[in-house]
Each structure stands twice: as C-alpha cells, then as structure tokens.
Symmetry: C2
C-alpha cells in the first residue's frame, strides 16, 4: 500500500466533505449523531467480535493488562459511547453564532460569526471509545475529521467507523466527514500531521511520547497538553477545614487524571496546623508523601522529595509536599515546576487570592476549589476533546467552541471607504 497516496486521498476527501459539513444544519448533524447511537446499539455483537479479535491479537503480542483494559469495549463502555452521542446531540450548536454585532462610526455593522476550523486530525492510542467521542464533537462543530487510532484497536475502530458512516449516511451527510484511517502503518501519522493543505489542526490524545512526537513534527497547529502537574497552595490565611478537604479531594478523587494535584504547597505559618491532619488522611488512603526538609520536620518519617519530584506527574497515589515561606515563593514554584495546567490557592485573604489568579500562568487558576474541577463538563462546555496547556487558539478544557474559529461579518448599505 502506498501510504502517502492513501493519505492524500483521505485528505482530499476530508477537505471536500468539510465544505459540506460546515454548512450542514444543526438538525441534520443531530440526526446523524442519534443515528450513530442507534447503529452502535444494533451493532453490539459485531463490535464485541471485532474487539475480541483486537484483544486476542493484543494478548498474543504481549500487551500489558492496563493496555488490554483500555482496549476492551465492554457493554458498559458501549453504553457510555451511545450516551455520549446523545449528549453531544443535545449541546447547542456553536456554528453560525454571531457575537458582538455593532455599528461603527462609518455606518457599517460588524460582528463575529463562529465557523468550523475545517478538517481536524485526531491521533490517539488504544481506547476505541475515543473514536466516537472525537468524531461526535468534531461533527457537531461542523468539522470533518480524520481519525487515526492505535494499531492494536484497528478492528474495533473499523467496526465503530461503520456505525459512524451509517449515521452520517442516514442523515444525508457526506460519509467522508468522518474517516477512520484503515492502515496500521505508522507512516500514516507522519503524513497526517504534515498535510496543511488538507488538515487544519491536530489533536493528539495519549501518552507523553506520542504528544511530544506529534508536536515536534507537525506542520499544522496542535491542540494538546503534555503534562498535568497541578498544585494546591494552602495560604497562611486559609480556612483549615477547606484546606484539608480540598487538598485531600484534589489528590484522592482520582489518581490517573491530568487535573489531579501532584504537589501540595503550604505556607510555613499554617503548615503545622494542616499537614498533620492531612498526613493522617493520606495515610489511611495509602498515599505516599514525599516532603521537603521543612515538611519532614513536621511529618517525621516521610520520604524526602528530590528535585525531580517537583516536576513529576505521578498519576498515582504519591504526593510531593513543600513548605514555602510565602505566597510569592509558591507562585514562583508553580510557574517554574508546574505544567501550566491547573493550580488552586486556599485562602480567605482577598488580596492574595486576587494576586494568585493573576500571577499563576496556568490554563485554570482557582480559589478554594479542587483542581479536579478543571474539566469540560464541570465548566459547562458539555464535553471536551482535551485540555490545552497552550496559549494559542484554545486554553484549558476544549469543547465545541475550541473546535471553531470566527470570521468577521460586515453589513453595509452600499458603504464605501472615504
């Protein structure tokens, strides 16, 4: 197979479909999403068979159990995909919204209309449910999508793709609006990220290695986050109960998510009043603490944190703890070691709260709230395609709006420049 020729063909078809899908009515897009949900529901046997084939190959190829777990399409996961499609259908359509329409001194009326980006390339690893999630968000926002899933999920993804095509076709929309790459050749990724004439933006979802490679080599814009090294800073004027509850929740609500706290910073004036309580709770939960010298004078017996700990995303029941002399030291630490994802201050102090949210350079900054809230659903976006830690185009949880651009709309009555 000539991978380059195949990808150019896919790209051309996506570009053609994007012009049609960009103008599809909200009703047609929603009809397609519901039809996809129904097609998935009717294809449960086929999906299970295709997935079993992937799982069998995976076991034969020595995939580890975490990988096999992500690969598995259980009935509950199929339910979640179906539910997800219905939810995206129920979200408001961003395309065509005109904001800020106002008259200018010249008499023209100027506003901004939300428009799709065009063609979105999604590169992801083993989880086949991403196929549906990503395709549905791109479709609702009027974009054509090219999906490239992990090679170990090829049969599952093709089975899901068949349901997506059926949904598009039933709604009278071009089936090339969502294309799932048919080859497992890794060269396809290299082509996909270097075709600016056919692809407008790439969203890589997966491990850090994948995202680094895509970011380095892409010739188009990439919406991504690499790390989630999130902090909670307990200020000297924190309410101690809020401090303990939020810090505990930010670490233990889920360990493997990018908005989980990885480092706890505590002002030295309050450290001895909150750290012992937190240490007991973390110990009960089986969270290993690694502290700076000052922390270890309060919590004797915990391990020492190394320089590397401050920039490590554990994604596990491990937490680094540092006592700081004041908020400025906390802010410097966050901006230096953090990943510009999500950071929260616990304080009752008005001035320091204001300063923290201004000075911390992260995609989400919080006062008295758990970092775990950094999420498209919690922010009211409905769903998210990822959380961007970049500043260009989209930052923080990226929902339907992040998959759109805008154009200026000008209404005149024969107006000419003087």
């Amino acid at each position: 197979m000539d991978v380059k020729a195949y990808m150019v063909d896919v790209g051309e078809k996506a570009r053609q479909a994007s012009a049609l899908i960009a103008q599809a009515s909200t009703e047609a897009k929603n009809r397609a999403l519901i039809a996809m949900a129904e097609a998935l529901d009717l294809a449960r046997d086929k999906l299970a068979k295709a997935n079993e084939l992937d799982l069998e190959n995976g076991r034969n190829n020595g995939l580890d159990s975490a990988m096999l777990d992500r690969l598995e399409l259980t009935p509950a996961r199929i339910d979640t995909m179906i539910e997800g499609l219905r939810q995206v259908a129920s979200l408001p359509d961003p395309v065509g919204i005109i904001d800020d329409m106002k008259y200018m001194p010249s008499g023209i009326q100027v506003g901004k209309m939300r428009v799709p980006l065009g063609v979105v390339g999604i590169i992801y690893e083993s989880r086949p449910n991403v196929t549906v999630e990503a395709a549905s968000l791109c479709l609702k926002s009027g974009n054509a999508t090219i999906l490239r899933g992990g090679s170990e999920a090829i049969h599952s993804n093709q089975a899901v793709a068949a349901c997506i095509s059926q949904g598009l076709s039933q709604a009278g929309l071009p089936i090339n609006a969502v294309q799932v790459i048919k080859t497992t050749d890794r060269a396809a990724v290299g082509e996909l990220i270097t075709m600016p004439e056919y692809v407008d933006v790439i969203v890589p979802r997966g491990g850090k290695g994948l995202i680094e490679r895509v970011s380095r080599d892409a010739k188009v814009a990439v919406i991504k986050h690499l790390d989630g090294i999130c902090h909670v800073f307990i200020d000297r004027d924190a309410d101690r109960e809020k401090a303990v509850n939020v810090a505990f929740n930010a670490k233990t609500h889920r360990y493997g998510t990018c908005n989980t706290m990885e480092t706890l910073l505590v002002d030295e004036a309050i450290a001895e009043f909150v750290l012992p309580t937190l240490a007991v709770k973390f110990e009960q939960e089986g969270v290993e603490l690694r502290g700076c010298d000052a922390t270890r004078r309060i919590l004797t017996g915990i391990n020492a944190a190394t320089e590397e700990d401050w920039s490590t995303e554990y994604l596990a029941p491990v937490l680094s703890v540092k006592v700081v002399s004041d908020m400025d030291e906390a802010i410097d630490h966050i901006n230096k070691y953090g990943s510009h994802h999500t950071d929260s201050i616990i304080t009752e102090n008005y001035t320091r709260g204001r300063k923290f949210i201004t000075a911390v350079d992260s995609s989400s900054v919080m006062i008295n709230a758990s970092t775990r809230f950094a999420d498209g659903f919690e922010y009211g976006l409905g769903a998210e395609i990822g959380i961007s830690t970049d500043k260009i185009h989209a930052r923080g949880p990226v929902g339907l709006d992040g998959l759109t651009s805008q154009k200026y709309v000008v209404f005149g009555d024969g107006h000419i420049r003087q």
Copy 2:
C-alpha cells in the same frame, strides 16, 4: 558574534520581562507609551541622523526607490508614530478582563480571564515605524516583544529602540520588555522562530517571501496573512448604484493594500447593466481590466484574463473580471482562487446574502460594503498588528485581543469534586 548565544540571551531576558510586564498596571503601561512618544519627539534630530545613515547605505547598496521610500523617516512619519503611541495608550486594556463568569451546578463559579500571550517575536522589513507600532500594541497587551527589523533600517531602528527603552524605564517597567535585535545577521531570524521556550508567537510583516519562509520554518505559532486576493460579487438582485460605487471603491481607494479588490465577479443577469458603467469609471481612473470571455463580449477591447489572473494579487491598478452564471459559481470561485481574506456580495436578496456570508470561507465576509473596510480601525479594534487569514487563534484584523489568550478562573468556597 555568536548569534545563537546572543538570541538565547535575548530570549531569556524577554521571558523574564514578560512575567513582569504581564502584571504591569494599565496606568504604568500607558505612562510608558506616553513617555515613548515624548522621547521620540525630543529625539527627532537623532532619528533623522540615524535614518540618513540607513538611507545613504541603502543608496550605496542600490536599494530601489520604493524600498528607500519605505525606509525614510520623514517628520510626518515621526508625527504618525507619536500619534500612534498616544492612540494605543488611549485604548482599553484587555488584560485581566473576566468574561462569562457564571455558576455551575456544582456551585463553583467559572469565568475566563484575558491574559497576555507571553513573548511576541515580530519580523518585518524596511519600515522603521513598524518598530513603534508593534512594540506599542504588544506592550499594551502585556506581552514582551522581540523585534527584528530589516538590516537596511538597523540604525533607524536602534534610534527608535533607544526612545522605547527610555519610555519603559521612565514608567518603571523592565526595559527588556521590548528588545530590538542588534545584529543584522540573517541567522538571528532562524533562531528567533525556533525558540519555543522563549517565544510564544511570531508575527511576520512584509513581503510574501519573508512570510512563507517564516511560516515554513517556525517552531512556534505564526499569525500571518500571505495574500489579499479579495472579491466583490455583484449579485443579480444588486442595487446597481451600490454595486458600481462599492466595486469602484474596493478597487480604487488604494491599490497597494491587502483588502483591495483584485477580482470582480458579476452575475450574468446583471452584467450588461453594471459592467459598462464600471468600465468607464475604471478607464478614467487608469485601471486596466482583464476579463473572461463573457466579460469581453460586453466590454469589447479589454484584455483576456488568464487562469493565473484569478489567483494574482496585483496590488496595482489592474482588475480581473469574471461573469458567473449564479452565486454558487461565484462562491466556488472565491473559495478556490481567493486567499480567504475579504469578500463582499452586493445584493438586495435576503436569502442569497445569508448564504454568501455562510458559504464564503474568508476572514471577513461582507454584504453591500467595500472590502476596504477590513481593517482594525474600521472594525473598532483601535489598531491592528496585521490581518490573519489563518483560522487558528486569530482571524481577520488582529488587535490587542488577538495578542492575548485566556485562562479559566474558578471561584469556590471549599468546593470538592463529588
């Protein structure tokens, strides 16, 4: 000189300054802008001497007269720079504006705060006034700037840079917030566009060759437009007087600007009623018309347009004219041959007006208005750093907002994820 080491040093200083300038008060930034204006006013002699040196070198090096004209800092151009600084000082500060703050079902309050991008690299050609324009917009939006002007303007740019530094210093702001590259070595550009650790976005301003090179090689985001191939489409239901006035203005108001019409499209049902009138006006103005076969049946004696004409940005008193069978053909032509910059329909027909602004994929779409309105001042942005024909991050005229990003701000009262 070790260009790489020099640029790394410039980059590090810019990154450090960006953290300070991002939090500078509106009042301090405005004070710096006014102080720069005063410094320029007092430095007129020095500016003239430095500029004369550049002009002399330019003449010795055989620069053409257009290039020498762009290079010249006349007293009137210095006045314009001073006036520009005062205007930017009077614009509202976008930094820190919090929009869309609302309560979520969980009880947290979520909004979006405008924040600077960080460090903006500007690469431009001979016009020294760009130094002030770009620096002032970046400063007001809280960004640090690294400016790399044309080597032929090095003395003028350094003289301007001294005034900028003085203004920053008088306002108590870090002078490294605006740095003008001191070397004329072309390798500096290569370094500047490949330092994502120090530079967040590049804005190239100049000829197509420069912009293509920067876009191809940059490792950071680029805000740019390559071409301005703008269209006016005269629909069959156009008001004939509006059609003639707008089409004439869009071509003849200024020839060298990117929002000037380069191709006129006319519905065949109205062509014979508007083209002869327009042809007379264009002839009086010395505009050469190049037409398709149908156009030449109405306007006998004009030259034939070649395939190349449809995708040529003349920037000159030349206009290509095509008669189309209907609006769909016009839209297809615009999306195929245009540069996604600015396109206008002249029509009294409600349905076709709506369809045109939806289906034309350009950064500005207009009804019954001259393409010449596509401009930051005319859109109420106050000033612009350029006009983006990309869809990522910023599209259309890019003002202060386009030089900012946003972060999510979350206010809680000890809220934890359930």
